[in-house]
Subunit: 193 residues, 2 copies
DNA sequence: AGCCTTAGGCTAACGGTGTTAGCTTCACTT
DNA sequence: AAGTGAAGCTAACACCGTTAGCCTAAGGCT
């Protein structure tokens, strides 16, 4: 992901990410991005063909991180499953429901830790062709493994994405506790016994 | 919804809707909107304080229509439930699974019939205070009725919204048949027996 | 009748956006 | 020494939402 970019280009992406994460999508402007690097906006075009290309880099970065977070959650299981009982060598297969809960928590946590990046990653037309091959599948694999078939995985993904977007957009009644909704959705969509 | 708007304002909203539905959100521009009405952009500000106010009107319109579509689906049930057996007077309570399938189909159908309007309605910060009171609840009621508790309704709503957004954004593998994913999600999230 | 207010248009302009054209400058290679 | 490419620069274009200020026609009031 990083190897195909020149060092300067990587600096630009890093600055873009700071800008995006701190001040939101509206703040991610070619002029402001250039400002932060001490250059003028047109100079950015020596490194990227257009703004979308910079954003694609951010999307790839975010997907990579999200994939890692999900893989970690899959390996670990939810926090409470790492209790004293399993402390001395965990060999038995984890309960799918636990894995599912862990994946959901990790997904939600990532989205809320990086709301603007999540929005950029997961909303709007998808630049599939410009992304490193395999990244998309990698992000999806943990979910597919735990729920079994692809259709169920898609349903679960849609649920998680929908919950995050509705939460981020303040679409649920203000002040509502959404823990139960997450729990209901995740347990309903795990692999059926 | 329409009564608080002057006739001219209603014309503007109508033109805005045509623009949005035909050419997408990027085409909904104050200058282009004015063009379509034979006036200049600044004149629009005699009728609306800003562009967001026009969009709020469109959002209200869309939510109203979606609410109607869902209410109709709730009353009718899915197409196949209106078969010969029920033709002569339907009194028995409909199967929740059927109602759920009908609601899902109606939701999906509305979103795909008006993709740009759906996006405007359902993505981005929600102007709750500027919308006609009760409209939000009205849209949600059919779903709440069929699934029983609010948490389950939120989960189901998130699922449907997520499916639509992922579909609209081309996030699923190209060419994938998403019927099964919809079916799995909807049946998993109806009220449990 | 005459006046005055208001609705609803207009032009000009501001600051912001992404982007292009064309110039320069500097380092490195031949 | 000459030449070349990378990476900066300024100026500018077309577009965006929005504001200020002007004008004109219609309607109500004295």
């Amino acid at each position: 992901m990083a190897d195909r970019l020149s060092p300067r280009a990587r600096q630009i992406v890093a600055a873009a990410r700071e800008l995006l994460e701190k001040d939101g999508a509206d703040a991610l402007t070619m002029r402001r991005l250039a400002d932060r690097l001490g250059i003028r906006a047109p100079s950015l075009y020596k490194h990227f063909p257009d703004k979308a290309a910079v954003e694609v880099e951010l999307i790839a970065e975010g997907m990579e991180e999200l994939a890692r977070a999900l893989e970690a959650a899959e390996a670990t299981g939810p926090a409470k499953a790492t209790g004293p009982a399993e402390a001395a060598g965990r060999v038995e297969a984890a309960d799918p429901a636990d894995v599912m809960a862990g994946l959901g928590a990790a997904y939600r946590a990532y989205a809320f830790a990086h709301p603007h990046l999540y929005r950029l990653m997961s909303a709007g037309p998808f630049p599939r062709d410009l992304l490193p091959p395999g990244l998309e599948d990698r992000t999806a694999m943990p979910l597919v493994r735990v729920v079994g078939d692809p259709d169920r995985a898609r349903a679960a993904w849609a649920f998680a994405h929908g919950m995050v977007m509705l939460e981020l957009d303040g679409r649920f009644p203000p002040g509502a506790d959404l823990g139960p909704a997450w729990r209901v959705g995740l347990t309903a969509l795990v692999r059926p016994v």
